[in-house]
């Protein structure tokens, strides 16, 4: 991969990668750092990464880096975000489905959130998602199913408050 090919990949995938990171991490500066790190890794490994698989490579790096960052943040904030809490009056703050959905998405486990993001935003197949996240195709599918069910449950609960 030469610099021209690399630049083409930057143009093609940087926005999607940034969106993926931003949906995960919520902080723009952190998301930018993740994108930069992913592309740096790609450049370092440019002689071994097949350009056709560069997008998967970038998302895999971004995912791993995102998870590390989220864990660090959780540790620092001593927060527990993987379990649902019963909706409280905060539900009244949600004005529309999109915001409710984003809120619900942030409450999913890392793996469930990422399989859904990769599936819905990037249109990846189960196998491609599995390659990126280093899990089996069956695990991808079941995590999408469970994640969607949790989103559906959350949406239902929030609807009761709206």
């Amino acid at each position: 991969m030469d610099y021209r090919e690399f630049n083409r990949i930057v143009e093609a995938h940087s926005d999607a990668l940034y969106r993926f990171a931003l949906k995960n991490i919520k902080v723009a500066e952190d998301a930018q750092e993740i994108v930069q790190t992913a592309f740096e890794r790609l450049w370092i490994n440019r002689n071994t990464v097949d350009p056709e698989k560069s997008k998967a490579f970038l998302f895999r790096v971004a995912y791993n880096f995102t998870i590390d960052m989220i864990r660090k943040q959780r540790k620092e904030a001593d927060m527990e975000t993987t379990k649902f809490k019963e909706p409280s009056s905060e539900g009244a703050d949600f004005k529309d489905l999109k915001r409710v959905l984003e809120r619900a998405l942030s409450k999913l486990s890392d793996i469930q959130r990422n399989v859904i993001l990769l599936r819905d935003y990037e249109g990846y197949s189960y196998q491609e998602i599995g390659d990126i996240l280093s899990i089996t195709e069956a695990q991808v599918k079941i995590n999408i199913f469970r994640g969607r069910k949790q989103l559906q449950e959350y949406l239902g609960r929030m609807e009761d408050y709206l």
């Binding site: 630049n7 994108v35 199913f145 239902g156 609807e159």
Partner: protein, 278 residues
């Protein structure tokens, strides 16, 4: 809206999920839709689950320009090299005019059919790549067919010794030494022990010699160009009519391969044209 999934068997939930994921055949989809229509809980679950599909939102990475790579650092060196070689050629042509030597303005190209490229890809710290003129010219013609003109003069390339500045090529005259190096005092040691002209200890009039280290202290892509590509790039940029022999000596420094080329050009070459790599 209410949660209904507790009232729905998991296999039905899976079936509705598969429908929304697009994993069912047309026939299976139709059956599932009929099933959903038959039960209000199924309808609610189907509707709620369909809301969980995210719609892609536009996002723009703000620092894209930072990620983009410029052309390899060799470009800058090539540019300087080209300027220097052009200057050298101009000076040489002036000198030749003064001495009333017939000046040819076209390339003198070896057309010896027997000569073929012999490339030893070097992965060790030191090795040699020899590319004879016909192979280079073949590549040149492929790259820029309109800029090369054949000359019917016979080739003498293989007869020219590889040690520069020690060869007495018939009709050759001292030309000019051009050397572009990152660090002349430390970088270059001639592979065969020749004197480094940059150290001002070389008392022998040289042929045209270009020693190019191809290494930029601030860049990490010195190893990016393979040796063969490097040679061909040189050939493409410096359109010599005659290239008796090129010798490439890769060296390792800070884990980077440093291509290093000694070129010996007979003074039958009257015209050197340079072109920058884009």
């Amino acid at each position: 809206m209410m949660n209904t999934q507790n009232n729905i068997p998991e296999e039905i939930q899976w079936q509705i999920f598969e429908l929304l994921e697009g994993n069912l055949t047309a026939e299976e989809s139709e059956k599932t839709l009929h099933l959903i229509e038959s039960n209000s809980d199924y309808q609610t679950f189907y509707h709620e689950l369909s809301l969980t599909y995210l719609k892609p939102e536009p996002a723009e990475y703000p620092n894209k320009s930072v990620l983009l790579k410029s052309s390899p650092s060799t470009f800058k060196i090539w540019r300087n090299l080209s300027i220097l070689v052009s200057s050298a050629a101009a000076i040489a042509m002036l000198m030749l005019y003064k001495t009333e030597t017939p000046l040819k303005t076209t390339h003198s190209i070896s057309t010896s059919p027997q000569k073929t490229a012999s490339v030893n890809h070097a992965h060790s710290t030191e090795s040699t790549v020899n590319i004879t003129a016909p192979a280079l010219i073949k590549h040149l013609k492929k790259a820029n067919p309109e800029t090369l003109q054949k000359d019917t003069q016979p080739a003498a390339s293989s007869e020219v010794a590889t040690q520069f500045a020690k060869v007495d090529v018939p009709n050759n005259k001292p030309f000019r030494v051009i050397r572009i190096m990152e660090d002349p005092s430390n970088e270059f040691t001639s592979p065969s022990g020749e004197i480094n002209p940059d150290n001002s200890t070389n008392t022998i009039d040289p042929e045209v010699q270009i020693v190019y280290t191809g290494f930029d202290r601030n860049a990490s892509d010195a190893s990016e160009t393979s040796q063969t590509e490097f040679l061909l790039d040189i050939a493409e940029n410096l359109r010599y009519g005659r290239l008796p022999k090129m010798k490439l000596v890769p060296r390792r420094r800070q884990n980077h391969l440093i291509p290093q080329v000694d070129m010996l050009v007979g003074t039958d070459t009257r015209f050197i044209q340079t072109t920058l790599i884009q």
